[in-house]
Symmetry: C3
Subunit: 158 residues, 3 copies
């Protein structure tokens, strides 16, 4: 049986999402199965900037949508963000090293058959619709996450 890694992606930070997706890509390259469960702010990472819509949303959900980052490249840093200036500096340093951006690691994970789970309750509370997020995403509840995590060889909360 192949080994398995399970990542709970909770945070909506550029740097933490980068850490999670680098691990996901590296694991697939050594034939480890990967499941990523996106909950709360973690869902920001999966927003498709071209499919964001305010249809069928309450006033609160519209406000929340407006203040939320619009997909992977729009995420802030967890530290030294300095209103976006620190983030820009970090991305320049990534470019100087010819390293990929977050969106490239996300594309890599999608190509390499990482399993994408989205938290049902978070989706409902935040008012995100499935069609606004990446198409690979399967919406599941906490029990489905737990069963998958319990049978994995390692689990991280990111």
């Amino acid at each position: 049986m192949p080994e398995e890694m399970n990542l709970l992606m909770f945070s909506g930070d550029y740097d933490k999402a980068m850490a999670g997706l680098i691990l996901a890509n590296s694991a697939r390259e050594i034939d480890v199965d990967v499941t990523m469960f996106f909950s709360f702010w973690g869902l920001w990472l999966l927003r498709d900037p071209d499919k964001i819509s305010n249809e069928d949303k309450t006033v609160y959900e519209k406000m929340f949508s407006t203040f939320s980052p619009k997909g992977a490249e729009d995420l802030p840093l967890s530290k030294m963000n300095f209103n976006g200036v620190g983030k820009k500096l970090l991305v320049e340093m990534i470019d100087d090293n010819h390293a990929p951006h977050l969106i490239h690691f996300l594309k890599g994970a999608r190509k390499k058959n990482v399993k994408f789970y989205g938290c049902k309750l978070s989706m409902e509370i935040m008012g995100f619709k499935e069609e606004e997020l990446i198409p690979e995403l399967e919406i599941v509840d906490a029990k489905t996450y737990l069963k998958s995590a319990l049978q994995s060889n390692m689990q991280l909360f990111i």
Copy 2:
């Protein structure tokens, strides 16, 4: 033997505490044993607002107690807290979905026999007394946490 999940609750954020307690409740519902070890800011979650006392505390401990959130519902968000406004917005969105508040998930976990461990060193440094926190809490050291975590099927640092 039943499966077991171990959560190290470090953060004192409403949203992260919610994630931990939803997992704890869901795990119990599928017969998974759960141990939660509360350290540092995680202890805020277990303060009983009616039992907070400044007796036998140093000046620093009193200051620390005053600046600390007073129990589960008083915790801030890890993101978009906006001095409490973002937190209120999120709680309204939770209510709109008829979803439970953090305090209800905490009550659920207590009823479902989740094991509550509190970090001895954190209690001493922060000056929290056992009688100020929920009565189920058992104060243990890091080694007791480690032994419990090592024999679990999954461990998360939240």
Copy 3:
């Protein structure tokens, strides 16, 4: 075979680093093998304040170095830092309890043969040189981390 704990040290916070290092020291005291993998802000913890240098660095790397905390004792708190005042208060409370500082837990972990891994990609992007960090550090890639983590009995992302 001895049991093994693997910690991914991502955050550069005094309190979270303290949690990780207390666990590492406690684990060694009960004969559990420990590997710590430092990535992103986690590398700040390992800077030697006496060996920080701007030689061979780009303008961005110099700026980044200047804004980064200079080793363990210089790290901020993840919460209630209040521009350093909250951090000072916490350290006073640690002293009142005759508990060790972060730097002492780091020394303990080094003496007790904790394995120190540093993330190659983070080092390159942030422009940190090996000679600026503690000498025990071995620079490895994400796959080396993953292989070590997958064979461990528990893994945490801190």
